[in-house]
C-alpha cells in the first residue's frame, strides 16, 4: 500500500466466538466512518469475519488489530489478524478454493482475498500466521 498515516489502531483479542462478532462490529463501524460503499463494507466485514474465525479455529486464538487509515485523498480500513498457532505449511494449497484442513467450505482464506483490495499473508510453520487486509474508499 502507499504510505498511509494511520490513526489509533484498536486491538481486540480473538479467543472465542463472541470475539469474532466484536471484530465484525468494529470493522463495520470503521468501514462506515471511512465512507466505504455498502458493497465494500459488506465485503470487508465478511473477510474480517472469515479471517477472525480462522485465527480462532486454526490459529488457536490470537489478536485482531483494526484501524482507520488515510493517505490524504482516500480513507480506508486496515485489519491485521495474527496468531501464534501452527502456521500454514503449504500456502498455495491453503489459498486453493475448496481446500480445507478443517470442516469448513474451504473458501474462507481464498475468498477473503477476493473480497478486499489489499491482502498480504505472512506465515511460517510453527511460528504463526499474520494476515493483513485493507479496503479503501473509491
Amino acid at each position: 500500500m502507499t504510505a498511509a498515516t494511520s490513526e489509533t489502531a484498536e486491538r481486540l483479542p480473538v479467543r472465542a466466538d463472541s470475539d469474532v462478532v466484536k471484530v465484525r462490529q468494529l470493522v463495520r463501524s470503521l468501514a462506515q466512518q471511512a465512507r466505504l460503499s455498502l458493497v465494500d463494507q459488506t465485503k470487508l466485514v465478511t473477510a474480517a469475519s472469515e479471517l477472525a474465525r480462522n485465527t480462532l479455529v486454526y490459529g488457536g486464538g490470537g489478536e485482531a488489530e483494526v484501524e482507520l487509515v488515510s493517505d490524504g485523498a482516500r480513507t480506508g480500513v486496515r485489519a491485521v489478524f495474527s496468531d501464534e498457532g501452527p502456521g500454514i505449511p503449504d500456502l498455495d494449497l491453503a489459498l486453493t478454493d475448496g481446500w480445507t484442513s478443517g470442516s469448513g467450505l474451504g473458501l474462507g482464506l481464498s475468498g477473503s482475498r477476493r473480497l478486499v483490495q489489499h491482502f498480504a499473508i505472512d506465515t511460517a510453520p510453527g511460528v504463526g500466521t499474520r494476515v493483513e487486509i485493507a479496503t479503501w474508499s473509491r
Binding site: 466466538d17 462478532v21 458493497v39 465478511t46 469448513g104 467450505l105 475468498g111 473480497l115
Partner: protein
Amino acid sequence: MAPVATDTLVRTLVERAETVRAAWLEAAAAELHGRTTRGELEREQSDILDALLDGLRAGGTTLSDAAFDQLRGILADVSAARARLGFTPRETAIGVFALKEGLYRLTSDDDVAVDVTPLLRLVDDLGLFTFETYAAAREAIISEQAEQLLELSTPVVKLWEGVVAVPLVGTLDSARTQVVMEKLLNTLVDTGSEHAIIDITGVPAVDTQVAQHLLKTVVAARLMGAECTISGIRPQIAQTIVALGIEFGDIRTRATLADALVDALRANGRTASAGVPA
C-alpha cells in the same frame, strides 16, 4: 492462630458488638444511600456478624473452613440478590468491607487490647468471596439471557397453509443454527408444510460459516420432503457471496420474502387446485 487469641477476640466482639455494628452500618449506609434501607442493612449485617462469630467460636480461621459454611451461604445469597437487583460490584462488596470500619473503631478504643489483624484478613477474604459470588451470579444471569435470546430470535412462523418461514436476524452461529434447524424441522412436521422459507434479510453478513449452516439446514429440510427457499438476499450480500465463491447449487434463492411466498403459493396452488372441484 492460637485459640486463646480467638476466644479473647470473640469475647471482645460480643461485648463491643454495638460499637462495631454502628460504625459498620454507618460506613455501609453512607455508600449505599438510596439503594437499600437501613433496616435491611442492619438485618443483613447482624446475620453476617452472627455467622462470623459462630464460625470463630467453632474454631474457624480462614473463610474456606467448614466452620464458616453458614457465613459463606449468607454472603452468597446477599451478593446473588444484589447482582439481580443491578448493584455495582462496589456496592455489593462495600457491605462487607465496611465491617473493617467497625473493627478500626474497636481498636481506637484505648481499653481494648486485642489484635484484630487476623480478623481484618478474614474480612478481606469475605470481600473477595462476595466479589466472586457476585460475578458468578452475573455470569448466570448473562447466560440465562443469552439462552432466552436464542429462543426469542428464532421464531418459525406459518405464512400460509403449507408454507412456513424463519426470519433470521443477527449472527448465525452453530448454536443458533442448531436451534433454527430443530425448530424448522419440527414445525414442518407439525404443520404438514411442504415449503420452508429461510429469510436472511436481518443477517448482516453471510460468511462461509453462515453459508455452510444455511446449506445444512436446507439439506435437512429437503430430506424431510420440504422444498426450501432462501430469501432476503440483498445486493451487497449477493456480491459478497459471489466473491467468496460460495455455491448455492440448486437451492432456490429469492431477493425478498414476498417473492419466495409467491413462488411457494404458485407451487402449492397447482396441487391445491387439483383437489378443489371447479
